[in-house]
Symmetry: D2
Subunit: 135 residues, 4 copies
């Protein structure tokens, strides 16, 4: 399976800082929105996975800042679900200016499936494995 | 009882926006820090109150922006616990430049005590009432 | 003129706090998004107004928290441009659950037009007055 | 030169998310606070460097999440200025629970010196080089 999902958004004014650009920590919130929308597009809203007792905390994350992102700029985030076989999932992200197609940033996040009740690692939800297999 | 508590802090760079000043939504985070420190000074850390099963969600809040706050400016927040008799508490805040004593902002937050388990209104924790009475 | 604009959004995971609901300070970011979209719908993107040398800093703001907002809940913000005649503008907001139409929050923000170059109060941009008059 | 600086802080309530822990994007704000305090300890407050016309935007950043950080937990951030010779600086961070000395997170940020006026790369401020040399 190779699966790329596209999400579009406009940064909030509150996401800017006094350099006049989007603050670097906010990129990880954009990656998170992209993850949320990727899961929704698979019919697996993250809110429902949490209700079923699963969480996806981060193991680590990385971002590279290629060109600044501005307030209200229409950006496109392309998300690639790279590894999802075991107890971990690995997602890679590219952020583009949707008009010029300039690459603005790239990064990744790695997560492990854990049970909400005890935060212990667990196998992925069956629903998730079935959906992934069918792609 | 009249009780005023002072908290000091320096705004984070991430709290600025592209106007070059602290974003207005962050003032409510500063009020929250001031509340946390007021409760700690009373020997009632909010984290411990939550562990005991209480929450203090907001009913409403207000802030007035008198002079801008800048990144890294040393500010002093004076917090006044105005009403705390019943199931609600009412706090008022003033933010000063700690060097010039200029008044930068004032505002308030109103809260109700609720049980963590069901988010239903409840009487204040006994510990809280005892501490307050002793002031 | 009576002018109500509707904006739809889903709160980010990063907007939640450990009460399991959206943090109160984030409501002011949602009001800000609603303002941005109202201005865009009038053909007056706020980013363009800033480029023309205008800013709209806040004078004060208020929010009332009626029912909690949850992560990923589809909300509708109805924004009413209540007063806009002079150097100030006054906006009122209502947040609804878009499915149930439950009122979740209401609030307001008051702003003054200032020049970017010196942060001094100024008359509204001509473009803004013309658009408003034509409604 | 090997230079390690220690900063202490308590996470804000607003920094938590509905997992009941500090949201991962906030770690980069903590690294930023640690940078700010490291520079202040060298007699080079970042606010003053910006006033002198310099900015330090990020090239990239990374964080690893070893144990969760909780609201109001006293944490210690140890910051190591690893490379600072040329137009770039490289900082590494470790976050500890200040009571137990458990390692909670580690990460890094890389920055380039740019001129505020045109965002073009530039040599580090002379003041910075002199201070660094004297360590």
């Amino acid at each position: 399976m190779s699966f790329v999902h596209k999400t579009y958004l406009r940064p909030r004014y509150a996401d800017t800082d006094q350099m006049g650009i989007i603050h670097h920590a906010k990129y990880f919130e954009y990656f998170e929105i992209a993850r949320t929308e990727l899961l929704r597009s698979l019919g697996l809203p993250y809110a429902a996975l949490e209700n079923d007792g699963y969480l996806l905390p981060l193991i680590d994350c990385y971002a590279k800042f290629i060109k600044p992102i501005k307030y209200d700029q229409l950006i496109r985030i392309e998300t690639n679900l790279e590894d999802f076989s075991g107890a971990r999932i690995h997602l890679a992200y590219k952020i583009f200016d949707d008009e010029t197609n300039d690459l603005l940033s790239e990064g990744y996040t790695k997560h492990s499936w854990v049970k909400k009740i005890n935060l212990k690692p667990t196998r992925p939800p069956l629903k998730f494995l079935e959906v992934i297999k069918s792609k």
